[in-house]
């Protein structure tokens, strides 16, 4: 295994972490539009908190997909064709959600509710199926000698993968609530905190179930005992920190802790997979490995140059954007200044 292969394995993990950290709260806010608010004004208020940034946050996913294609084409091909209907559902969710931001702003009031629902449902479907996909993937899927995956319903939908899907939805929702608490004023802010206080209790149960199922359903504990345990513990610790912080109204700490939980989750999956990228349930001979599914050293080198030269600029203007939009969004006078 070359250093560049390892670098790109890590970078793909970083890109997915960035996606869940950032787009995670967009999904949470999207779900909250129909579940947290009491009026149309409140819906506008919380949508305004993500208005300028959600599209940029989604680019983390597109970049992760592109980087996967460029650096691990065999992984990309097996994963994307194998999870055809799952990814298709994710795409459909992203589409109805993506247009709803622009549409709900412009449609007549009588139709606005349609796009509020599109926003909320899209924001629910996408994290659920991403959770389901990654968790079923780490259990091993029927991948043949040619790298083609032909799975059946039970391979995709089983107790562990469904718990994984729900866990990612719950994490996104909490992350969104924490973001709303950080970015708004007025009744929505208090309500978001109250919801979060209750839901952290549910999340503990989810995490325990997740850890137990991981022990029985994957080989992570056998292969990588220390990192698997360590990362699971850090997910729990981060949840405790977030839970305490939300009690103490430390909004920034809560938000960072819930975001970091996602990073720990992605790290857990990637370290557990190592040195594989996809596990075959037919035979370990057919596992896709870091060593045999990556691009050529030349392509990886070029990609590394590009990433190293441009990523700092990208991060700089993203941070600058969050700084520009640092003000809290008030009730009624929504930021929208179009």
């Amino acid at each position: 295994m070359s250093g560049l292969q390892l670098l790109w394995f890590v970078l793909i993990g970083v890109l997915f972490s960035g996606f869940f950290f950032l787009e995670g709260f967009d999904f949470g806010v999207g779900m909250a539009v129909q579940s947290l608010t009491h009026s149309e004004d409140e819906k506008d208020q919380i949508v305004a908190t993500i208005g300028p940034v959600w599209d940029g946050n989604e680019v983390w996913l597109i970049t992760a997909g592109g980087a996967l294609f460029a650096s691990y084409p065999f992984w990309y091909a097996t994963l994307f064709s194998g999870y055809y209907l799952i990814l298709f559902t994710i795409l459909a969710g992203l589409i109805i959600r993506g247009v709803s931001f622009e549409f709900r702003k412009n449609v007549p009031t009588s139709q606005k509710q349609i796009w509020n629902w599109a926003l909320s449902l899209g924001s629910l479907v996408v994290p659920f199926f991403f959770g389901l996909m990654f968790v079923s993937m780490i259990q091993g899927m029927p991948i043949d000698a040619k790298g083609n995956m032909t799975a059946t319903f039970g391979d995709y939908f089983n107790l562990f993968s469904i718990v994984g899907g729900i866990a990612v939805v719950l994490l996104s929702y909490l992350h969104g609530l924490n973001y709303i608490a950080l970015k708004t004023t007025g009744p929505v802010r208090d309500r978001a905190k109250n919801y979060a206080k209750f839901l952290y209790g549910v999340l503990y149960l989810g995490l325990v179930a997740f850890a137990v199922l991981m022990y029985f359903e994957t080989d992570f504990f056998e292969l990588h005992f220390a990192t698997t345990l360590g990362l699971l513990v850090s997910m729990v610790v981060l949840t405790v920190i977030a839970n305490i912080a939300v009690m103490k109204d430390a909004e920034i700490t809560t938000f960072i802790a819930s975001g970091a939980t996602f990073v720990a989750l992605v790290a857990l999956i990637f370290t557990g997979l190592f040195p594989r990228v996809m596990i075959s349930s037919i035979s370990s001979k057919y596992d896709l490995l870091i060593t045999n599914s990556s691009s050529s050293p030349y392509t990886l080198k070029i990609m590394s140059y590009v990433a190293i030269s441009f990523l700092p600029f990208v991060l700089a203007y993203i941070v600058w954007t969050y700084y520009i939009f640092r003000r809290r969004i008030r009730h009624t006078s929504v930021l929208e200044s179009k």
């Binding site: 460029a70 040619k146 050529s296 590009v306 200044s337």
Partner: protein, 472 residues
Amino acid sequence: MSIVSLARFQFAMTTIYHFFFVPFSIGTGLVVAIMETMYVVTKKDEYLKMAKFWGNIFLLSFAVGVVTGIIQEFQFGMNWSDYSRFVGDIFGAPLAVEALLAFFMESTFLGLWIFTWKMVSPKLHVIFMWIVTLASSLSALWILAANSFMQHPTGYTIKNGHAVMTSFSALLKNPQLWYEFGHVIAGAIVTGGIIITGLSAFQLLKKKVENPEFYKKSLHIGLLVALFGSIAVLTAGDLQMKALVKEQPMKFAATEGLYKNTGDPASWTLVAWANENGHKRVWGIDVPYVLSILAYDKPSGSVEGMNAINKQLVKEYGKQNYYPPVNTLFWSFRIMAGFGTLMLLVSLLGLFFTRKKNQLLYRQKWMLWILGLCTFTPFLANTAGWLVTELGRYPWTVYGLFTIKQSVSPNVSVASLLTSNIVYFLLFTGIGITMVSLVVRELGKGPDHEEKVEEQERKAAKIDPFDKEAFE
């Protein structure tokens, strides 16, 4: 129904639909950037109004363009996994670079542009829009770098049955890329100019026009942009055709409907119909000399027909069907070139009849109707152009290296593909209808709508003194 035909149908449907909105948003984005720049330079409020009004239309097209774009990136892995394995070492890189260099910039600065009208100085604000325009063009560059490799592979070697990159710079120096890029960007400029011209014309045709001067100015800017773009698009298209004669003779022969080799000088076929199964032309009207001039810039030289090219291809790559769908290519090319020329003429004449001395156009309803109907022509021309480019590559995905049949995902079922095709179709229809009705609605509000709303909001804000948390 086979997985190949369903996967091809899906690629055509999603790409055509996506490409309705790509040139729409790049083009209108450019016009909005020009309008806002004029506001910054002249400080006249009407230009600010223009930038905001047309900016709303731009944003609607941008939103649909973004969401349909994600399908494109996922689709290679989902429907064309063996293609992805074969070419991923080369093809993935421009896609990843596109996301990193262009998409982050585009989305971030668009977010800034939408939400900072009142937060930053006008000078800084217009820069955001220019960055968005630059980033969209960059994204076109990278995705076309990927497409150009499929049309004309360069900088690679075949290793263990896979294409492996040997030179990244060859990917960017590919002459095909620069023809395509020039053509696509110029086409987007025409699209933006014509859409704003056409929609303004429709507004001026209404019985009660709120602010006719606003639409007349917009129409004029639109025409100027369209004229500039039309000249560029014809130039780029001409260069591309001349390269095609050498690089992909089969595609060229098919767009000209030539089965047999032409004489010298070669005559150009204006209209024709082919019997595709019999590899024969049924009827057609020929214009002498023109094809030699189009292909070689001189009134001599013959062009090879498909039957001769087919023989060479069979010799070089083995026996299979190398004939692309001739009638589709032939007519698509004529739709593209015909509407392209029409738009050039319309923008020239339009500018002539709106000159300061004699603004005949605004008094002649039929002229406004022509401009209005032209709104739809760029969509037809853009689609037809891509049909020529992509269908003309048949039977290859990567020209000369990998065929369409080899490319498809072997593990995806007909049922899955059928489901996704149907749902995409329904989603696209719903979104398309909503999008069009919202554009009509935005147009109906008129350019002074926002001022009125703000006035109302200002009044409402005065009655609300209880908002203490606002000062936190």
